[in-house]
Amino acid sequence: MRRDVFQAIADPTRRAIIVLIALQAMTPNAIAGHFDTTRQAISKHLRILTECELITQEQQGREIYYQLEVKKMKEIDKWLEQFRKIWESRFNQLDEVLLTIKKNKK
């Protein structure tokens, strides 16, 4: 199934993982070391983040490193921009309504 960036960040542990690897690429073990949960649980979060294309794997020697896909994070800003536009058009309509009411009062 298709996953999206918002599903990725809906979970607090996944958000914490994103913050962690935003600073530097990390191995699954190093990431798991920052959480009280099981290694399996962290693996599952990493899998979801990977499926959402928010993080990618890179093989370095014998280790796998996870890194953040900054471009994908920008999708959130794109969505926000659309939300902003809804309010913009809503308020432009309100401007007109207010103007009409004021005119009718005169």
């Binding site: 599903q7 960040i9 659309q82 809804i86 309010w87």
Partner: protein, 165 residues
């Protein structure tokens, strides 16, 4: 109309809160009415081409507004707003949730805090919208853009399916 009227829009990702500030060239009393009276609200609440249709609205603490955003094809997306606090002409707070056509809310919703203040005939409205998760914020965006914009119904279905998990 002045072009210098304030409009700003920010998201605090750490608290999942959207802040919106906007000035209007009208007195506070009129702007307050525009936000709290059904017949005015329905004229501007839905971004075109959607239409806002309020079935009932009791603007009092504990009262509710039950309304739909109607698409050009006649599809209705219902929401319920419940007023939790009202200080006439200066502030009101409400809980907003999507709903089915039988008034059953889809929880959790979002918490809204709206402030009104006037200076030299210009009224500033400050809105804070707190969402339990950003996923819900995305849904709000989808709803607003559902028709007539760039999103296809197909994508929305996928999105709703993924949000339900």
């Amino acid at each position: 109309m002045k072009n210098s009227l304030l409009f700003d829009f920010t998201l605090d990702k750490s608290t999942n809160t959207v802040f919106i500030n906007r000035e209007f060239e009208a007195n506070q009393s009129l702007v307050w009415d525009a936000f709290t009276k059904q017949e005015i609200l329905d004229q501007w609440w839905a971004p075109k081409p959607l239409i806002s249709k309020t079935k009932f609205m009791n603007f009092e603490v504990g009262g509710r507004r039950f309304y739909a955003m109607v698409t050009p094809e006649g599809q209705e997306r219902w929401s319920i707003q419940k007023y939790t606090s009202i200080s006439p002409k200066t502030n009101f707070k409400m809980l907003n949730a999507f709903a089915d056509k039988d008034e059953n809310p889809e929880l959790p919703g979002s918490e809204w805090d709206l402030n009104f203040s006037e200076q030299n005939g210009t009224t500033k409205v400050s809105i804070a919208i707190y969402n339990e998760s950003l996923a819900r914020l995305e849904k709000m965006i989808e709803m607003g853009f559902k028709e007539g914009f760039t999103m296809t119904l197909n994508y929305l279905d996928q999105l709703l399916a993924s949000l339900k998990q």
